[in-house]
């Protein structure tokens, strides 16, 4: 159980100006600006939940993750994770969490992956029998049996990321923080990673908190999303709810023969020439089936497809809506 209440965090950043005279001036005087990284952030996440944490760069995602993993102390507010305050009781707290920083490695560069795993086992004081069980499960699920004997530096990014995730789960944490786990991966590795995250969430009831810029990750994995912008939680809800709320438009692509297709109300045309039309319909006033029956009544349809807004587009419109 994760609970954050009214978390605030402000950073002080030194200003730095270019130019010789500015550099000399800066020898004697320093100016600061203050950044409100987090303002009044509150949410709670139940055991076994899987949550997508999204927001543009610099919105406060990683500050929140750092607070939850005990690396950062907030200025004010409460944070309780399994009855502990992360930054007060660091060692006890981190035994229960696993963290994957997508852009950094926790594996030792020049030694075989399995050596890193064994060292991590000793760091977390995992029982050997327990370790063997977890390891064989991870090796099977992540399909890394063949690569664990290779030194980390020789792995591809996708292989390495799978090993990184395994390394973060060797101590069977109850909570897993994933910070952009699919960044830079090829399509196959992305899907493998997503499948794996789904599996451990379902089978081991691991709570997963995922930050990402890849909306396909969110679509594939999480039902609940938290949207943060400029340090505030802007939205906390389910993905499908958001979809219905936001997708008021559908795009119809029609290939037809006969006269040029005339438009009815609530239809906007993008293209309509030579028997090929792309039309946006406003679903608040006109349902998709109404539109289709209208079109079929006017022309002879050869082919037709309906497209809703993609999650990417939805997020862009969300960012616009909240002006972040």
């Amino acid at each position: 159980m994760i609970e954050l209440k009214n978390i605030n965090k402000t950073f002080k950043v030194a200003k730095r100006n270019a130019g010789f005279s500015e550099a000399v001036k800066a020898l004697f005087k320093k100016e600061y600006t203050y950044i409100n990284a987090l303002q009044d952030v509150s949410f709670s996440i139940g055991d076994g939940e899987m949550v997508g944490y999204i927001g543009p760069n610099g919105a406060g995602k990683s500050s929140t993750i750092k607070i939850m993993s005990g690396i950062l102390t907030p200025d004010s507010g409460e944070c309780m994770i399994d009855g502990r305050i992360p930054w007060k009781d660091r060692i006890a707290h981190v035994k229960n969490i696993g963290v994957v920083f997508g852009q950094r490695s926790q594996l030792w560069w020049d030694v075989p992956v399995i050596d890193s795993f064994e060292l991590i086992r000793d760091i977390y004081k995992v029982e050997n029998a327990e370790y063997k069980k977890t390891l064989s499960q991870l090796i099977e699920l992540l399909n890394i049996g063949e690569i664990v004997k290779t030194p980390t530096r020789q792995l591809s990014l996708g292989q390495r990321m799978r090993c990184e995730i395994a390394a973060s789960l060797l101590h069977s944490p109850k909570i897993l923080f994933l910070d952009e786990p699919t960044i830079g991966l090829d399509a196959v590795s992305k899907i493998a990673v997503r499948e794996f995250i789904k599996t451990i969430n379902r089978e081991n009831k691991t709570t997963v908190i995922l930050t990402t810029h890849d909306m396909q990750d969110i679509e594939a994995l999480t039902e609940r999303i938290l949207l943060i912008g400029k340090g505030r939680i802007l939205l906390d809800g389910s993905l499908s709810e958001l979809k219905t709320r936001n997708s008021t438009h559908k795009t119809l692509t029609v290939d037809y023969s006969g006269e040029k297709l005339p438009l009815s109300e609530h239809m906007t045309v993008i293209k309509n020439i030579d028997g090929h039309a792309e039309i946006i319909i406003d679903t608040v006033f006109l349902t998709v089936s109404q539109a289709i029956s209208y079109i079929s009544s006017k022309v002879e349809v050869k082919d037709m497809s309906v497209m809703g807004e993609t999650v990417d587009e939805m997020v862009v419109s969300l960012y616009k809506e909240f002006e972040i």
Partner: protein, 267 residues
């Protein structure tokens, strides 16, 4: 030429940003110079007659060395250059319409000069007001001053063209760390950074003066202190010029060959 100038400008200004580093550097170098002088003072009191320079000459030498440290320190390298060689990113640099040797040369000059500019004046100023014989004095006459200016520029060029050879060695080695440490200690020692060259045994001195390392910091600082006369100074300056040209030609040839190898092997 203009592109090199603006490249210099960018690097120079970037180097001026580090305020705290400048203060820390000034404090460090001041303490370092002071400790060095106290060490020599102990030897001076034991055997004034064996001292190869006058003590005020030595004081001036040491303070000049500290004030212009950023120009002559051998252990300073631009890691971006090493990284671009070992990672193969050098391919991007080859796409630019500039000579790569000149670019790196300018870059090194700019970084070192920007560090020096922020640090040298406070050090010189304080060192001038120290009690005798530990203070820095002006050169004996205006001619020494002029010769010093010519010589410090040449010395700076000799050092950079030598360190260019170390950068270039990275093309030929898997890891350049070892070479770097090795070369650094050789330069430092033979340039007179550990102890000034006049303190070396007499028998070794002619060889030492002939090596390129003496043409780095040793020549300008000895001219400044007045330890060597005008004729010797002119000879040393000529030698500096010869070394600079020789090292630069060597560097340009070696880099050309290294690049050819890269293009043939595809990195």
């Amino acid at each position: 030429m203009k592109k090199y100038l603006s490249f210099f400008r960018i690097r120079f200004i970037a180097g001026l940003q580090y305020r705290a580093a400048a203060w820390a550097g000034i404090a460090t170098q001041f303490a370092w110079g002071g400790m060095t002088l106290l060490m020599f003072w102990a030897f001076y009191q034991n055997g004034e007659n064996s001292f190869p320079m006058t003590f005020p000459e030595l004081s001036s030498y040491i303070w000049m060395q500290q004030a212009f440290l950023a120009m002559f320190m051998a252990w300073f390298f631009d890691h971006e250059i090493f990284e671009s060689i070992t990672s193969g990113n050098i391919a991007y640099e080859l796409c630019r319409p500039c000579n790569i040797y000149s670019m790196w040369f300018i870059k090194n000059m700019a970084i070192r000069l920007s560090r020096m500019v922020l640090r040298c004046f406070p050090i010189l100023l304080v060192a001038a007001f120290l009690p005798a014989p530990f203070h820095i004095t002006l050169p004996p006459d205006w001619l020494s001053g002029v010769l010093f200016l010519v010589s410090i520029i040449l010395g700076f060029l000799v050092l950079i063209s030598f360190s260019m050879l170390i950068y270039i060695s990275a093309f030929y080695m898997i890891s350049s760390v070892g070479i770097r440490i090795l070369a650094t200690s050789v330069i430092e020692f033979f340039a007179g950074a550990v102890i000034p060259i006049p303190f070396f045994p007499e028998a070794l001195q002619p060889i030492m003066y002939a090596l390129p390392f003496a043409s780095m910091q040793n020549t300008p600082f000895l001219i400044y202190t007045g330890h060597i006369g005008e004729i010797k100074a002119l000879q040393s300056i000529a030698l500096q010029l010869i070394w600079f040209i020789a090292l630069m030609i060597a560097g340009r040839i070696l880099i050309k060959r290294a690049l050819k190898k890269i293009i043939v092997q595809g990195g």
